[in-house]
């Protein structure tokens, strides 16, 4: 009698719990709308009949009109379309970086937790070291690094998107520590589980036990941690871009749109307001979403409240 409802499994139950979480649901909806609009930026551009790449000095700081729903910036470019393109970059950086950091952290944490002992000690001291690095100066140094001298091909270094790749790599290389610690702690517990002993007794090797038996048990906390970290990555990207070390113009990101607006804060405060509010909404939405996922995937955490 129980199989009919049970067979939808844990994810069915999680979905039902998630749907009761209004704030997380709203956040998910907001993020989906933002993402769809960002992906559809060229379509919006075409529909409005504007070209955000073209400078039009006769049309600077134009008020909102039908063609420019949010007006134009100091070079006469459409603000709405620039914001959407910026959202593309900021969301992409946030998601890709959080994923890359989660992958690195999961691998480090799994190895440390599964093998324990000296391996664990070594990897965790290394993690502690990365955590203890003064982040901002390090990022500034890394961002100023001449990639051609590191040995990367010139064509790659001079490509327009290199600042994008650079920021993803930099933030992922320092951002994996949270997931590594989380995964390591859980793996330390799980390796003592009976089913891990049973898998050993079936002849499974270390790699197989880590990938097939331990990792699937950690998916929920990893998803939650990754979701929560997207918000902080977007913030960090905006900070770096604001300092001029992140995404380089003319590629717009919410961070460098904010930098531009800095000088114009008295003439055109709206130009700072729009990217600021988008960063705020996105970061907070990812945080609500992460909380909601946590409660949905791990009901025990909610009972404790």
């Amino acid at each position: 009698m129980s199989t009919a409802t049970d067979s939808r499994g844990m994810f069915g139950l999680a979905l039902r719990r998630f749907r009761r979480h209004r704030l997380a649901l709203g956040s998910a909806a907001a993020l989906v709308v933002l993402a769809v609009l960002a992906v559809a930026a060229p379509l919006v551009e075409a529909a409005l009949g504007v070209d955000s790449g073209v400078v039009d000095l006769f049309n600077r700081f134009a008020p909102a009109t039908a063609a420019h729903p949010l007006g134009t910036d100091e070079l006469g470019r459409d603000v709405l379309v620039r914001l959407l393109y910026g959202g593309r970059v900021s969301l992409l950086v946030g998601l890709v970086t959080a994923l890359a950091a989660a992958v690195i952290g999961t691998i480090v944490g799994l190895i440390a937790g599964f093998y324990g002992g000296r391996v664990d000690g070594l990897l965790m001291r290394f993690t502690d070291g990365v955590i203890a690095l003064p982040l901002l100066p390090l990022l500034i140094v890394l961002a100023a690094l001449d990639l051609e001298k590191v040995g990367l091909p010139a064509a790659f270094v001079q490509s327009e998107n290199v600042s994008l790749y650079r920021i993803i790599a930099i933030v992922a290389l320092v951002g994996w520590t949270t997931v590594a610690r989380l995964v390591r702690g859980a793996a330390l517990t799980l390796r003592e589980a009976d089913f891990v002993l049973a898998a050993h007794a079936q002849g499974a090797g270390a790699l197989r036990i880590m990938a097939v038996h331990i990792l699937p048990n950690l998916i929920s906390p990893i998803i939650v941690a990754t979701t929560l970290s997207v918000g902080s990555v977007i913030l960090l990207e905006s900070v770096l871009s604001f300092l001029g070390l992140g995404i380089q113009p003319p590629i717009p990101s919410w961070g460098n749109l904010l930098t531009n607006a800095q000088e114009l804060i008295w003439t055109a405060p709206a130009l700072a307001f729009y990217p600021g509010i988008l960063i705020f909404v996105t970061v907070i939405a990812f945080n609500f979403l992460g909380d909601g996922l946590q409660d949905a995937l791990d009901p025990k955490a909610m009972e404790g409240r």
Binding site: S2, A198, Q202, G203
Partner: protein, 332 residues
């Protein structure tokens, strides 16, 4: 102790010969031997019962055969001869090829021995994929076939369910299917029925007997429950504080135990129609392995112990009827 004196007149048909197995745990108070000079044979199609109280070294002995003793435990001596090869001398990689394929294990708690996030079918099929190089579909079909053999209804549908969707008895059946999927030569069953209801327990014992007849597998059956052992085993080995104290054919051991500890264990069995009132109990508890009494380890609980028992540890010696016992006072 000399392993040579312990070794029985080993019949050549034994598939596994364990000689002088020693497992040591490093503790705060020094090294402690959880298994000390354990020797026995397993024969195809026959069951060796291993009985003793909690903490006497049964599970450690079983795990040592697969070289899965958890740290800080370590195998510090003896040989485990399987098909003429000493398993203790193999590389870890070669040992992985033996686990699950030639020697497999059924655990006490089917609830925790299955991975909660993988389907039953995937977990049963895993050993085939690891060892047989079988494809997913092929292994899955074999898993369904095995579930059918162990008496699970709707095996094709059941293979797709998760462990928590099954009852305890079903899970233990599935565990037996998992252990037997590669047709191993040896099955180690560590208290396979302890976590189950009495009625389910009988079904699982029947199933194990049937599987043994079908596959000719040798079984090492571990239990603290002499009643369960008496149903399953052809030969019984009694362990106390890391030592084998008595080994004998099951019928002979139950009818006429030689070691005072075995006698105590048998007296604690409730018997139908015999006597009333309180069941007898063996006084005291298993000694702390870090603080064993001098001489015979059972001497502080033994009604027959004298100064000789407390002076020297009795070796496992031959007794009439293919039996072995480690006691100076063994009833002749």
């Amino acid at each position: 102790m000399e392993p040579a004196r312990e070794s029985p007149n080993a019949p050549s048909d034994a598939i596994l010969e364990v000689r002088g197995l020693e497992v040591t745990f490093a503790t705060d108070r020094g090294a402690v031997k959880a298994a000390d000079g354990v020797s026995f044979d397993l024969k195809p199609g026959l069951t060796l019962g291993l009985v003793g109280e909690s903490g006497c070294g049964k599970t450690v002995t079983a795990l040592a055969l697969l070289r899965l003793v958890p740290p800080p435990g370590r195998i510090t001596g003896g040989r485990v001869l399987f098909g003429g090869e000493d398993l203790l001398a193999l590389s870890e990689r070669a040992m992985e090829d033996i686990r699950g394929k030639r020697i497999s294990m059924v655990f006490q708690e089917p609830t925790t021995a299955f991975n909660p996030v993988l389907t039953i079918g995937d977990q049963i099929a895993e050993a085939l994929i690891i060892h047989g190089g079988a494809g997913r579909a092929e292994a899955h079909a074999a898993a369904v076939g095995m579930l059918d053999k162990v008496g699970i209804p709707d095996p094709a549908e059941r293979a797709g369910t998760y462990p928590h969707q099954m009852s305890g008895g079903m899970r233990q059946r599935a565990m037996i299917a998992m252990a037997l999927i590669c047709r191993p030569d040896i099955l180690i069953a560590d208290e396979p029925t302890t976590a189950l209801d009495v009625t389910i327990q009988a079904q699982i014992l029947d199933l194990m007997g049937a599987m043994q007849r079908e596959f000719g597998v040798a079984i090492l059956f571990i239990s603290h429950d002499l009643a369960v052992i008496s149903e399953m085993a052809d030969e019984v080995m009694v362990m106390y504080a890391g030592r084998v104290v008595e080994r004998a054919p099951a019928d002979a051991l139950l009818a006429h135990p030689l070691h005072p500890y075995t006698q105590g264990l048998i007296e604690t069995l409730p018997r139908h129609g015999v006597g009333r009132g309180r069941l007898p109990a063996i006084p005291g508890t298993v000694p702390d392995l870090g603080a064993l009494p001098d001489g015979c380890r059972f001497s502080d609980r033994c009604p027959l112990a004298d100064d000789g028992c407390r002076a020297a540890d009795p070796p496992l010696t031959r007794a009439p009827g293919g039996r072995w016992v480690a006691c100076y006072k063994a009833a002749p």
